[in-house]
Subunit: 160 residues, 2 copies
Amino acid sequence: VLHSFRMERSEYSDDNCSVAGTLQLVGERWSLLILREAFLGVKRFDQLQRNLGIARNILADRLQRLVGAGIVERKRYQERPERFEYRLTQKGLDLYPTLVALMQWGDRHLAGKQGAPVVLEHKACGAETHPHFVCSECGEPIGARDVRAKVGPGALARTA
Amino acid sequence: VLHSFRMERSEYSDDNCSVAGTLQLVGERWSLLILREAFLGVKRFDQLQRNLGIARNILADRLQRLVGAGIVERKRYQERPERFEYRLTQKGLDLYPTLVALMQWGDRHLAGKQGAPVVLEHKACGAETHPHFVCSECGEPIGARDVRAKVGPGALARTA
């Protein structure tokens, strides 16, 4: 459903803004860094703790929040003694574009002359890849100036 | 430059991680919400303040940080009395994929049955678009399981 009028600020509010909602769940430095580790394959509490140099109680709290949000799941991988690991759910895997976008911006604007600290290889084609957004309909590249934000059905339902 | 070995945690640290660096600058809820407003075309202090329901001193602080980071610039748009507005620089516009990625995740996982509160129209083709990442080399869609993170030249330079 595409509405033909421009978006006005009065048409939405933070309680149904998808950006604000996402930030509410993961928009905190430690949470996003935990997710970065998870995407790099780190699953265990102790390794997360070492890699991030984070206090154990803060790590436990952030993991619990991510589990509560269904972004990470806690799975037992050993019985005696019981040991658990943290794995990204599909909901968590869906945060991948966010992490890639943050990384690419840092690569472009913060990395030194030497270049990016981490590069991505596309498994299928074997090339070093720099993913970019394209339009789902016509396939052309999408940048900030190529789109127009409009009131969506969720906003109308709320304000109706 | 693509290196042929897998990345190990010891090869990088937060002081040269592009994700951590980006979060250092914009990874704070208010900053990202200010950027959301900027992408929606909001440029003036008072309107930002109203839209976000943010304390004036906090808004002033966050704007100053964004200006200091070169993400937003402060431009005079009126002489008497002097009035200023805040505009995204190119560096700021480059954060667009981050905002779109956050929005899409929220649309998928948080929006109610009614659908997304905001939709994007691709100006060029006129369709409602759901941008997705594709490989810069082969053009195929890129998801979390399609890539492999590797040590980049920036990491090597630092640890050498």
